[in-house]
Symmetry: C2
Subunit: 253 residues, 2 copies
């Protein structure tokens, strides 16, 4: 039997947002590895071993997956969203590069998924309808100064922005600092939206402005989107507002 | 009958990358509108009208969709990739905002899809595995100066980058200028990759460096990804190289 590792994106939560390609891989896998809540999204069946692991052990998990593939297992590494966006794909390649030479010859593939910011954007309208940046606000693995620098440059470039991991339990003060940098750079009227657990039963979307935003509007299940200077809100009767960033930028903006 | 508009992402090309949610909407639609090659991806059936239109008539198409929904039709507006990323969703909201008040009360929803940059990233490894920017290089709807400004700021922030519409037939010189700005800002060894028609039979992935990149490596079916300063290439025997951006940034980079 020839082993493989396929790094699979399960999308933001709803079953109907998982690609047929990802479902097919899961149906053929002998082993599923991933962070506990993602592995719990996989239906158990005979012949499939589910390996749950905790957060922040991504490299251990990646090594485990590669070792099992070397031993002939068909391993699905599962992430929520898209595995290439602040998720497991990079961790697997880090483990591969630092591991035994033979791991480079393994059949390792990444299968894309619907990432949180695009699920959130769709639900709210089209806030990322023009040039945008995606920034991981966690400073677990990078200096906080770099987060601040990227926020300032993104604002200077008038990009729309999407923030992953806005607010960790361990370091809630980071997001407060981020909001204050953005408020100064973009002004109080700039649109910001908090999209929590999109496509699940806990989904909520909160559209507001930087002047009214507070850090407690986000938790670790929230993706935060900030508009460009041109982002607009369409108010509706009896329905949530729609947020979109126009496709055009006039001269001189 | 109550009409609606659902703006649907068909993903990068493969049938297996279309979400079940999107397939369900298409199966319930009475009308499909979109750019010719995207509408041709929809299987004809009794009771479904296919309305193809040319490129650059996005607002006309959006108005047509909204008008049909007002008349009770169930309209799927189809884009390739994700409709919220340089595609039809923003156009529909522009038309809604400028149109009759009653259009705001229509049932209009966006359904996310696998966008080209994430399909390309998955195929190549995980080049967007850390903070990144998505920039539309076309200057049809924005001043070229703004494109240049965003390129310089993205490079200064050491973001990975994804470029849509790198090279139009009408203005091929834009991409040449973009490459030269990036070469100056990021140096000749920076990884760049050209991903064409990912997940279709015409798929090709070309991994190279800014020092070796030439404008003719891209066309309008190509998405171009540029790594950060930390992006790595894993060479393999008998298989394409893997490109990934590590999750960590050491202090002082």
């Amino acid at each position: 039997m020839t082993g493989w590792v396929k790094i699979v994106g399960l999308g933001p939560g709803a079953e109907t947002l998982i690609t047929p390609e990802a479902q097919d891989v899961i149906s053929k896998a002998t082993d599923v590895v991933g962070y506990i809540p993602y592995v719990r999204r996989i239906t158990a069946r005979a012949g499939l071993m589910l390996h749950e692991s905790d957060n922040r052990v991504e490299i251990d998990r990646a090594q485990h997956a590669l070792q099992m593939a070397q031993d002939g297992h068909r391993v699905a590494v599962v992430s929520s969203g898209d595995p290439g966006v602040f998720a497991m794909a990079a961790a697997v390649f880090e483990a591969m590069e630092d591991g035994p030479e033979i791991w480079r010859d393994l059949d390792v593939q990444v299968l894309p998924g619907i990432t949180a910011m695009l699920a959130a954007s769709a639900r709210a309208g089209a806030p990322l309808g023009h040039d945008f940046c995606a920034i991981n606000l966690s400073d677990n693995l990078k200096p906080w100064d770099l987060v601040e620098k990227r926020l300032r440059l993104a604002a200077e470039g008038d990009f729309a922005m999407a923030f992953y991991n806005p607010r960790s339990k361990a370091r809630p003060e980071g997001f407060e600092k981020a909001l204050s940098i953005l408020l100064k750079a973009c002004g109080p009227d700039r649109v910001i939206l908090f999209a929590r657990a999109v496509s699940t039963q806990q989904e909520s979307i909160n559209v507001t402005t930087l002047g009214s935003a507070t850090p407690d509007m986000a938790d670790m299940r929230t993706v935060v989107l900030v508009g460009s200077s041109l982002t607009r809100v369409i108010q509706r009767y009896g329905a949530a507002p729609l947020v979109y960033t126009p496709r055009s930028v006039p001269e001189g903006v």
